[in-house]
Symmetry: C2
Amino acid sequence: MIDIQDFRSAMARLGAAVNVITTNGADGRFGMTASAVCSVSDDPATLLLCVNRNARMNGILKANGRFAVNVLSARQEEFSRCFADSTLSMDERFGRCGPWHNMTGELPGLTGALAVFACTVASVTEVGTHSLFIGSVEQLLLGEEDEGLVYFGRRYHALRGAAMPQALSA
Amino acid sequence: MIDIQDFRSAMARLGAAVNVITTNGADGRFGMTASAVCSVSDDPATLLLCVNRNARMNGILKANGRFAVNVLSARQEEFSRCFADSTLSMDERFGRCGPWHNMTGELPGLTGALAVFACTVASVTEVGTHSLFIGSVEQLLLGEEDEGLVYFGRRYHALRGAAMPQALSA
């Protein structure tokens, strides 16, 4: 058995992009900060998102059946803190950040994000403490090239943009 | 329908840690570079790994039923290139990188990695072009604190370590 705190300490060593996840639909507009997002398939374009089963977002995502992944730039670090702040209402979160534009399904897309992926939920699998949402990408927006934002070692880091045409394998 | 190149360009905006995935067992020792690794559940400690179905690693992982995620430090960038280089044999890859130590199940653990997660494959799901491996973490090693390595904008970035005790929500 792996100790939870040891696992979290080790996972803090795995740097990850910072995203604001938004949803809209039957259960209303909602948003939260998340780093547990991962590319899955190129064709059809598919990504995944892991959400704590105790988070309000979990039930709302299941009801709404769609979400957008807004990939934050370094200059949007404050938006990450805002959407991770449980003392703020949704109106406050959306009001303090933005501007917003509507993606397909009236999903809130964050202007200035590095990229926005609008997805429908293709499947949900419960794994321990979290739900694993597989999202089919229905719409894609590429923002301006800008510095990236990564969470590593329990703090934020800015990444200078660049575009060397070099890909990782697999 | 989302164009594959557009999807890849957008995914290049999602910074991700760089890892060497290793496996050992019935189909032998194998390793490859991968960034599609994501934390899933704290309890039980679980992570996931996405592998292209055309990659040799895909069948070998299914046969071996276990893998290790070696989270690279900035000083191990060369190991990432080595394990992504299809012109090198496995003996060459493992020989040029290291040193290695045995994790549970004789999984190759990379000395100097920021963290090593030794996992058994709990399930495999095929999603489009990739297989999604859910791994139950059986053993965990925390390396020395060191600079992280992230792939973003199609190039490598070093991340200074730090340990502000501040966690993201969810």
